[in-house]
């Protein structure tokens, strides 16, 4: 791209915040009450994260993968891509994530959840709960109303944050591979929200940095 230094984030923003949040609102109206099912699955995952077993690990990875396939198709491809042509490329990130979680976690068992104490154990649980509980509260807290709430398993950002929480509690060297699509998604989402001047822009990026720091700290501790 010529003169790339002259481009700012706002040059890549194709839509207004109003259009984006109305898109979410209309999507929520269409898929309701799947939010309740997704929240139920999220609570079940949260329980498993406290007492994981091999079988439960596979179930968690399969569930998160299937939720990503759903979010990719229902929101990113069918809705978001109508106002952001880049979404038709970005949709590969969550689909790759779903494939990795299915293959490495649910099928081959190369990724397993472990019960982890200490700072990074709590950070994993906390990050998952941020995606599940805190993220949907942003819309009403920021005056956009509950109708524009972004819910885990329904919208990509809370699902990405929660997935990073799961990966912080995951053993197995391929976890580095699994974290890459989520980090890229969160950084892209954070940049988009920042360009939209959204108050929660920092959160996806912070979750991505936290996940990378956590995995790195564990790698160092293991050597």
């Amino acid at each position: 791209m010529p003169e790339w230094w002259s481009y700012g984030l706002s040059d890549f923003l194709l839509f207004s915040p109003r259009t984006y949040y109305r898109l979410i609102e209309r999507y929520n109206e269409t898929v309701w009450p799947l939010h309740l099912l997704a929240a139920g699955l999220g609570l079940a995952i949260a329980m498993v994260l406290r007492r994981p077993t091999a079988a439960r690990s596979r179930a968690v990875f399969a569930t998160v993968a299937l939720l990503w396939i759903w979010v990719s198709w229902s929101f990113v491809w069918n809705r978001y891509a109508t106002i952001n042509w880049a979404a038709s490329y970005l949709v590969w990130l969550p689909l790759i994530e779903a494939g990795l979680l299915l293959w490495l976690g649910a099928m081959s068992g190369r990724l397993t959840l472990v019960r982890r104490a200490g700072v990074w154990g709590y950070a994993g649980i906390a990050t998952f709960l941020v995606g599940l509980v805190l993220y949907p509260m942003f819309a009403p807290m920021l005056g956009r109303g509950l109708s524009q709430a972004e819910v885990f398993g329904v919208m990509p950002e809370p699902t990405a944050v929660a997935t990073l929480g799961v990966l912080l509690l995951t053993e197995g060297s391929p976890r580095w591979l699994a974290v890459v699509p989520m980090v890229l998604w969160c950084l892209t989402a954070g940049a988009t929200l920042y360009a939209m001047r959204s108050a929660e822009a920092w959160l996806p990026a912070a979750a991505a940095i936290l996940a990378l720091a956590g995995l790195r700290a564990r790698a160092i501790a293991a050597t």
Binding site: P2, E3, S6, S10, D11, L13, L14, F15, S16, R18, T19, R22, L23, R26, R79, T82, I83, N84, W85
Partner: protein
Amino acid sequence: MSQPTRRDLLRALAAGTAAAFLSPLSAFAQPFAPLTRSIPSSGESLPVVGLGTWITFNVGDDPELRDECTAVMKAFFREGGRLIDSSPMYGSSQQVVGYGLSKLERPSTLFCADKVWIGSGEEGPAQIEESRSRWGIRRFDLLQVHNLLAWSDHLPKLLAMKRGGRLRYVGITTSEGRRHGEIEGIMRREPIDFVQVSYNALDRDVETRILPLAQDRGIAVIVNRPFQQGSLIRHVARHRLPAWAADIGATSWAQLLLKFIISHPAVTCVIPATTQVPHVIENVRSSSGPMPDAAMRARIATHVAQL
């Protein structure tokens, strides 16, 4: 009694014209004749205020927002506006323009300007055809190579379309002051009708070379980003409109900033984008009344730069 705010003025403007939207477009006489400029290569007159669609018309399939865009288009045409500019880069904007045109029964005054924006010259014609289909029109008046992307591939094809009668005008675009050297080279060498650049009271790079060259070469100039994507308006709106703005009939910051642009003799059309009917009316009406002379233009630029 306190001074009316910009919001009050816009509300009054909207109220005064609200009844107009209850009847078909064709039933209205234009309330005033907008200022026009000639396209140098043809002599055709074009109102100096057009309508951009970047961000504002990218509303997807949201029926409420699509209808709002249609209302903006309707007000624009009713005020005498003609040129609407879009691009395949602008998400769903082309479809939304097409939706509005369909609702408005395709106003005969429309001057449709679009762009080709694809890295492969071979795929240009297919993209243009898709754009045309989205607008729902028979042919474009103006096609521009967007941001000079693969311009050496696209430009010969656009010029061939013009020779074949399938296009009326050919142009190139850039924004935010990028690649001005290349723009100049194309303006000197190629038989283009239009050049589109960014220009406003703060971003004045084009004044030194591009605008004089356009005058020399007989190339029409379309100005994008007149409000720096809204940031310039938001910045100046924190300050009181100077009293001397009344000397040129400007009742708002938007009108003062637009008058600065359209008073430059090289400028053919400025394309502010908006989602609000009062704003589009305010924008088009900025071409009425006295225009700033060179001294006033300098005063506007200096004042805005100091805010």
